[in-house]
C-alpha cells in the first residue's frame, strides 16, 4: 500500500540572508561548562562549606587550647587539604551520576538538544567538571584555607617571626605546589576512568543510576571470588582508588602528602596504569556520547 505524498507549491520568496554571528567551538564549550556550574551549585558550595567548617573548628581549637602549638604544623594542614579534596571527590561522583541522567528525567534534554551544541561538546563539558574544574577549585579553596590557618596561628600564637612559623611559611609554598601536583595527577588524570564510568552509567541508566554504577563492580567482585577464589578485580579497583604506588625508597619519614606526591612527573607519566585508565575513560566517554544521541527522556 502506498501513502500519499504531499506536494506543495513552491514559495515565490527566497529567504533573506542574514550573516549569522560566528561562534567558535571553544566559545560553545565555555558556555556549556558555565551551564553546568549554574545547574550544579554544589560544585563550589560543598568544598567551600567543608573549608568553612574546618576553619571554624581549627580557630576554636587554637583559641581554646594553645597547648597544641608544639605539634607538627603539617598535620592539620594536610587534614584541611584532604577534607576539601575528599568533599570535592564526593561531589564529583554525585555530579557525574546526575549529569546525563537528570536532563533525561526532567525532559530538559529536549530543550538542550534544540540548541546547536553537539552531544560530544555536551559530554566533554560535563567530563571537564570532575576532571579539571573540581580539582582546580578544591586546590584554590585548600590553599586559601591553609593560608588563613597559617596567618591565624601566627597571630593567635603571637610567635611572630619565630623559627617554627618561618619554617612553616617556607614549606607552605612547597606544600601548595605538591598539593596542586597531587590534585591534577591523581584527582584529575588518574581518576578519569572512574568519572568516565559514572557518566556512562548516567547516560544509560533507565533509573537509579547510583545502583547501576555500584552494583556491577560488586557483582563482578562476588562472582570472581566464588568462581575463581581470586580478587584481581578488587585489587584493580583498589589500585585505581589509591593511586599509583610510590617506590619503596620514600622512606618512613614521608607523611601522607609526600607519599601521594612521591612520584616524579616522569614516573607518573610512565605508569602504564595511567594510560590504560585514560584509554578506558575515552571508551566510556565515546559510549556516553553515542548514548546521549540515542536516549530519550524517561
Amino acid at each position: 500500500m502506498s501513502t500519499p505524498s504531499n506536494v506543495m507549491p513552491e514559495s515565490p520568496l527566497e529567504s533573506e540572508v542574514t550573516a549569522p554571528a560566528v561562534i567558535t567551538a571553544s566559545r560553545r564549550f565555555y558556555w556549556a561548562v558555565r551551564r553546568e556550574l549554574w545547574e550544579h551549585r554544589s560544585i563550589y558550595i560543598a568544598p567551600l562549606a567543608a573549608a568553612a567548617v574546618f576553619l571554624l573548628a581549627f580557630l576554636t581549637a587554637l583559641t581554646i587550647s594553645p597547648v597544641h602549638r608544639h605539634q607538627p604544623l603539617d598535620v592539620p594542614y594536610e587534614f584541611a587539604a584532604g577534607l576539601i579534596m575528599g568533599t570535592a571527590f564526593i561531589v564529583g561522583i554525585f555530579y557525574s551520576l546526575d549529569a546525563l541522567y537528570g536532563e533525561r528525567r526532567d525532559r530538559s534534554i529536549l530543550f538542550w538538544k534544540s540548541l546547536p551544541v553537539s552531544d560530544l561538546t555536551t559530554v566533554l563539558s560535563k567530563f571537564t567538571i570532575p576532571l579539571i574544574i573540581l580539582p582546580l577549585l578544591s586546590f584554590a579553596i585548600a590553599v586559601v584555607t591553609q593560608f588563613v590557618m597559617l596567618l591565624s596561628s601566627a597571630v593567635l600564637m603571637g610567635s611572630g617571626l619565630s623559627g617554627g612559623t618561618l619554617g612553616a611559611r617556607m614549606s607552605f609554598f612547597h606544600m601548595s605546589l605538591m598539593l596542586l601536583y597531587h590534585i591534577l595527577t591523581v584527582h584529575g588524570l588518574w581518576y578519569a576512568p572512574i568519572y568516565g564510568w559514572l557518566l556512562l552509567v548516567s547516560a544509560w541508566a533507565p533509573r537509579a543510576p547510583f545502583v547501576w554504577a555500584f552494583l556491577p563492580p560488586f557483582v563482578i567482585w562476588g562472582v570472581e571470588k566464588m568462581a575463581f577464589r581470586t580478587s584481581h578485580f578488587l585489587a584493580m579497583l583498589e589500585y585505581r582508588l589509591v593511586g599509583p604506588e610510590a617506590p619503596a625508597t620514600t622512606g618512613p619519614r614521608g607523611n601522607l602528602m609526600d607519599m601521594l606526591s612521591a612520584l616524579t612527573p616522569v614516573q607518573f607519566f610512565s605508569t602504564p596504569g595511567l594510560w590504560v585508565g585514560l584509554a578506558v575513560a575515552a571508551i566510556f566517554l565515546a559510549a556516553a556520547v553515542r548514548l546521549r544521541r540515542n536516549r530519550e527522556p524517561i
Partner: protein
C-alpha cells in the same frame, strides 16, 4: 530545495510500528499542521525531522541528515517540544546568556524586547514562573532566533485559552514571514485552522490525507440540510454525515457551492470535522476490503 523531504520514513519501537513509510515534502514558507490521534506517530515524525530519533528511510531537512548533523541543523532549525522542558533551575538571564553564547542566529535584543511585553523578570527562575509564562519565555527565546524551520510539538498543551491565543497571534504577527517554515502538531485543531497553509492527517503511522488550505476551502463544503432536502443531499454522495441537535450535517468533497445551497446553509467544515470524516471513511474502506 524543499525544507523537509522524506521518502519511506519508518520507525518501529520493538514490534510496534510508530511510523510506517511516510513520504513528505514541505516547501519553504509553509505552515503545516500535522493532525492525528494520540499515538498516531506525529511526535515520532517530528523527532526524526529534528534528529532526536533514529529512523529508516530517506530524510533531508534543510539539505541535512538530521540524525548525523543535529547540531549543525539546529543552527537553522529550532523547536518547542512541550512547555515543560525548560529546566526548572534556569534563570531567565541565564537562558539569554546561554542562547547568545551558543547560537549564531540568536538576537538577544529581540528576545529582551519580547520579554518586556510580558510580566517575566530577568532574575526569575523557571520554577517560579507559571506554565503560561514559561511558554511565553520559550517562545520569546525561539522567536529571537532567525531560523528557517520551526517545529512545534503541542506547544500550547496545558495552557489556558488566553495564552494559547496570544501564542499563535505573536507567532504569526512577530515571527512568521514567507522565508520561514513552521510545522505544528496540536490537539486544539480549531485554534490553528486559520493559521495553517497546509494540513496533513496522520493515523497509525501513515499519512491518510494531505492538502493545502486553499484546496481544502475550495473542495470541502458542509451543509446543514433541511429535513425535506436530506434525501436529495444524500444522493450527491456525501463523505460523511453527522447529527447535531437533530439536524443532519453532510460533508461533501468537490460538490458545487450553488448546488448545495439549495439544501440549506453551506459553510467550510472545520479541520476536525474533515478529520473525523476521513478517518471513518478510511475504516469503512478497510472493512470493505476485508470482506
Amino acid at each position: 530545495m524543499a525544507c523537509i523531504e522524506a521518502r519511506g520514513l519508518r520507525k518501529a519501537f520493538g514490534t510496534t510500528v510508530a511510523v510506517d513509510g511516510i513520504d513528505l515534502r514541505v516547501e519553504q514558507g509553509r505552515i503545516l499542521g500535522l493532525i492525528g490521534p494520540n499515538g498516531a506517530g506525529k511526535t515520532t515524525v517530528l523527532n526524526a525531522i529534528l534528529g532526536l530519533t533514529l529512523y529508516q528511510g530517506e530524510l533531508k531537512v534543510l539539505g541535512r541528515d538530521p540524525w548525523t548533523e543535529r547540531d549543525q541543523l539546529m543552527r537553522d532549525a529550532c523547536f518547542i517540544a512541550d512547555v515543560a522542558v525548560l529546566p526548572r533551575w534556569l534563570r531567565v538571564s541565564q537562558a539569554l546568556d546561554y542562547f547568545a553564547g551558543v547560537h549564531p542566529r540568536f538576537d538577544r535584543a529581540k528576545a529582551e524586547g519580547l520579554l518586556t511585553k510580558t510580566t517575566i523578570r530577568s532574575g526569575s527562575k523557571v520554577r517560579e514562573l507559571s506554565k503560561g509564562m514559561v511558554a511565553q519565555l520559550h517562545l520569546a527565546l525561539v522567536m529571537a532566533i532567525d531560523a528557517k524551520l520551526l517545529v512545534l510539538d503541542e506547544p500550547t498543551l496545558g495552557l489556558d485559552i488566553l495564552y494559547r491565543k496570544q501564542f499563535y497571534d505573536s507567532l504569526l504577527n512577530d515571527y512568521f514571514d514567507r522565508s520561514r517554515t513552521i510545522v505544528v502538531t496540536t490537539h486544539q485543531v480549531e485554534e490553528i485552522q486559520d493559521v495553517l497553509t497546509d494540513v496533513m492527517f496522520i493515523n497509525r503511522g501513515r499519512i491518510v490525507f494531505a492538502c493545502s488550505m486553499e484546496e481544502f476551502e475550495a473542495r470541502y463544503l458542509e451543509v446543514m440540510a433541511k429535513p425535506e432536502q436530506i434525501a436529495a443531499a444524500r444522493a450527491l454522495k456525501p463523505m460523511h454525515e453527522r447529527q447535531v441537535f437533530g439536524r443532519s450535517i453532510l460533508l461533501f468533497d468537490g460538490v458545487d457551492h450553488q448546488q448545495l445551497a439549495a439544501f440549506g446553509d453551506v459553510r467550510t467544515p472545520s479541520i476536525a470535522d474533515l478529520f473525523v470524516a476521513v478517518l471513518s471513511k478510511q475504516s469503512g474502506a478497510a472493512q470493505g476490503a476485508a470482506r
